[in-house]
Amino acid sequence: MRILTGLAFVGIVASLYAAFIYAPTEAVMGPVQRIFYFHMGTVWVATIAFIIVFISSIQYLRKESRFWDVLALSSAEIGVLFITLTIITGSIWAKPVWGTWWTWDPQLTTTFVLWILYVVYLILRSSAGGDPRKAKYAAVFGIIAFLDLPLVYASARLMRGISPVVFGGSGGGIAPEMMVALLVNLVGFTLLFLLLLKQRIDIERMTDELSKLKLEEASQ
């Protein structure tokens, strides 16, 4: 755990350094382009998180072990956090570059629906009241939400027709220093994700322990 904390700390500091100091300033967009590195970091983490939710949900239905349920819950919570950050960093980047905080292009629309779907997932979990039977509902929703996403993306394309390339700022070729900075950020954010995930899983496990102890206490 301490090693992970240390690694995550180093990873994030390296990411900050890479984004702000190491990477060259982009020609067209200027300094605001640096937020791209964090934006990609958060998108990447959110993607892994939701893939984990999908796989854990399936495994939970198959094996009914609490481990998968806890993993799904923790991953979903962190995923929602990082998707929120993605949308916020994206908006901050968009305003000076596109002139608007938001557009309804397919990628953004799908990201927004993704956010909604996983917030609904969390609402479902809380309204199921912690009942392990009801954990299956969340798993079912997790599976369906994930499978729905490609179709949502297809529908969003139907709506608007064209999708502008979001990361066109780097053009055809990305400068090698930028690539390095990007990779450093991806790794740094992944380490942060793993740290947060581990902590969240531990908290959930401790809560389970506590409930079990209370139950034993009450039955004596």
């Binding site: 239905l61 629906v113 909604i116 779907l117 609904v120 609402i123 479902l124 309204s127 199921a128 009241g129 039977r133 009801k134 299956k136 509902y137 798993a139 079912v140 929703f141 599976i143 369906i144 939400a145 499978l147 729905d148 179709l151 949502v152 297809a154 529908s155 969003a156 394309r157 139907l158 709506m159 027709g161």
Partner: protein, 222 residues
């Protein structure tokens, strides 16, 4: 197969006796159309774009209402226990409930369409069959997801309030493609991306019919 029809027939007979589902769904759908009429000032340019959207908003909101009540009725009479005790595959139960839900929604749609023609002055003669097909496809997708979720929503703290929250994000593809296709059919202009809209709708139906049927057994244990 006979078991599926048994469930469907039971729901139909119940409905014929009480008529509570159909009447509330129909009224609600009509009210939505009326409210939209007050909310928007309908100039003739706005109608071709807005009308299919209003149609589908009315269908889906009325549909969610009906879906919520459908399983609530089961729960009130405790007939869920009865159904579960019979030695049937849970998927059969799902298909039965789904078909009866789909029938109700489709009936509401059939009743709404003439009203729609009247209010918005559409000539439906050419476009009736394609429109019915689109409504049918949309209803299937909606009913598949809705039947699954309404079984889930009932057992939670929020009960039926949770159902719209669960359903609407998931059926975005159905609404988008149905509105696009309906719009193209109603205005008589072949839409450039009609093919892909149809693909999205049919894919949704197939994928989610299968998935919801498979997953239903995890949800209905009581």
């Amino acid at each position: 197969m006979r078991k599926i029809w048994a469930i469907v027939w039971k729901d139909i007979i119940t409905e014929l006796r009480t008529k509570e589902l159909l009447s509330s769904m129909l009224t609600f759908a009509l009210l939505i159309i009326v409210i939209f009429n007050f909310a928007f000032d309908f100039s003739s340019e706005l109608i071709p774009t807005a009308a299919p959207a209003i149609l589908w908003v009315a269908f889906t909101f009325a549909g969610v209402l009906g879906l919520g009540r459908s399983f609530a009725l089961e729960k009130e009479g405790n007939s869920i226990l009865g159904i579960l005790l019979t030695p049937t595959d849970r998927t059969i139960i799902f298909l039965g409930k789904m078909i009866s839900n789909a029938i109700f929604v489709f009936i509401v749609a059939l009743l709404i369409l003439p009203m729609f023609v009247l209010f918005f002055n559409y000539g439906l003669s050419r476009s009736l069959m394609p429109l019915l097909l689109i409504v049918f496809l949309g209803t299937i997708g909606f009913a598949a997801v809705g039947t699954l979720f309404s079984a889930m929503a009932l057992n939670t703290k929020l009960r039926e309030v949770l159902l719209p929250i669960l359903i609407f994000p998931i059926i975005i593809p159905v609404i988008v493609s149905s509105v696009k296709l309906s719009g193209a059919v109603l205005s008589g202009n072949p839409m450039s991306r009609a093919g892909s809209a149809l693909q999205v709708l049919v894919s949704f139906d197939i994928i989610f019919l299968v998935i919801c049927a498979v997953v239903f057994e995890y949800v209905i244990e009581e």
